[in-house]
Amino acid sequence: MTSLGDLKYRDTQKAEELADTIDEQMDSIDRDIEVMHVCGSHEQVIAKFGLRELLPSSLSVTMGPGCPVCVTNMPEVDEAVALAESGKLVATYGDMFRVPGSSKSLADAKANGASVEVVYSASDAVTLAEENPDQDVIFFATGFETTAASTAAVLQSNPPDNFYVLSAHKYVPPAMEVVAEMPSTDVDAFLAAGHAATITGYELFGSVAKRHDIPVVVGGFEPIDVLYGVQEILELVECDQVAVKNAYPRCVSKEGNKAAMQAIEQVFERTSGEWRGIANIPDANFTIRDEYHQHSARQQFETESVSDNTDMLTDQCICGDIMAGISSPDDCDLFGEECTPDNPVGACMVSDEGACKIKLEYGGLPEL
């Protein structure tokens, strides 16, 4: 079994060794296995380095609801668009800029004259508020635990009165549980996202594993990290062991970043909410607590969109099924035709972490 001790992250020789081990493990397991990874960065590295070609055909590694841009619900985008169109300055991460709402994206709103700015971080949005004291600045905050922590830190650091947060932050573990229980999915194990686990720690996946009888391994983002994570998963499957393993120890600890988790807990409460195209997921949305109401865009402004001009194509979009691991981008009639990175219909085609964009960019597994 290969250990992490002498890991070189782009060592093709090591990759071959890991692939050989995985082959042997699959021979021993002697049935089809589906591993779901919960991170767009995992899909990026798998597709970019052609890792699927190394894996036996009985082992599938599919992407779950692991792209924060993709799971942001359409009405949440509509809220941001409505605020921009009402004259507020809306700041957001670049990936969110072109995600379609029910009738338009923030990019469309900007093209029509609304004030929308792309920022690199929550603190950049605060700077924008400080530089524009006469303007209400709304930070449309998206992402999982990693970015939620920085939004929480900003709200705790006494931001200016004209700074507000429209939170679309989401918490991953409950989504994993919902997907694990979907009758149409057949997930044997999860490869959990290493960067979210740097905040939460890996210990918390213990309850997910136990409740759903499914092993979880936390993995990093280099080719060898992913293969090593898969090897660790198969070791658990082989021994019929439902447990949590950390295959990313150089970044992830058992407890995680306690200060960051504390900030998240102090600023946000967990509420139920829709994840785009997947389901209404209990306890998976980070909603700003009442103590921070003066900076909550939802509590201070009317955020509902008045538009009902839904694009007909969005009805045909199967991003939800793709994020639940039920369908692949190739199954979508719009993929690469009506839906492209230049003209995305669904959110999975927008972000660099979206399954559809990644599939279009790297072309999938060639059948040679």
Binding site: A15, F49, G50, L54, V118, V119, P341, L360, G363, L368
Partner: protein
Amino acid sequence: MTDEDTITIAHGAGSKKMRSYLEDYVVSRFNGRQTSSTTVGLQAMDDGAVHEIGTKSVVITTDSHVISPLFFPGGDIGQLAIAGTVNDLAVMGATTPLSITCSLIIEEGTAVETIDAVLDSMKQTCDEVGCTVTTGDTKVMGSGEIDTLAINTTAIGDIDKGGHISDASQSPGDKIIVSGTVGDHGIALLAEREGIDISGNLTSDIAPVNEVVDAALQAGKITAMTDPTRGGLGTALNEMAQKADVGASIDKEAIPVDDAVASAGELLGIDPLYVANEGKVVFCVDEPDADRVLSAIRDTEAGRNAAIIGEITDQRQGSVILDTGFGKRYMTEPQGQQLPRIC
């Protein structure tokens, strides 16, 4: 107005969108109106057109040049205007240009000194390839109607009748050679625009490729060649594979990429295999001649980093397969313009 009704930057970015637009709206309009002497016309979408005149094949090509900033690490728009055009001629097999035209479109308010520097650079590059500007035109537009300067250049050259080389005559078994490190020009420019300084090591590769092409042609049988400019190596390989209806198998580890270019590419989120080169050539070479051609290219100054990066296959016609060293995947044609990472 929708995206389909207007021209966007992506229509000119060397992507699939650009090729589709040219095929559907431009080439289809002019197709079928060739003169009797035309042996390579617009429908070939090659680097230039070829006319058979008397005992000669005359090659003609044209290019327009706009770039920001006008002067950048390793070059300037003047050098680009001459090298870019004579390179299109060279990769058709015409390595000695007979004549170059030059059209300048200048924004009102531009310093004479700026244009002087550009013209000096054009002259110097002409001297390098042994030709000169023989006719031209100058227009001045109002302030804000054009961004400082645009240059159009056209070049003609001649070769023995039928001696031109297309970008689509390769066949399975041929080796693929790239004449040096790829992505230098595109990454240097993006890094300059984004203010990324990597120890000052990023410079454009702008240079005439005549010497490299001559060396290759003399050393063995070149079956196809092109210069991978806009859209980079990835786009050029896909276009060649689609035109010739062959496959291509590429070894990623063999593709020469400068360390600084690779680092800046990672930082910017831009793949060096898909950005512009302005002094490189992709050759397809008859397999028995491949090592000899590689050696001859490496003996030239501009070709010292040349490498065999793969071969033409009869599998997955029209597609390029990339062996990453870990596994294989498609090396796809870019869908639109590559943009630096935002977050």
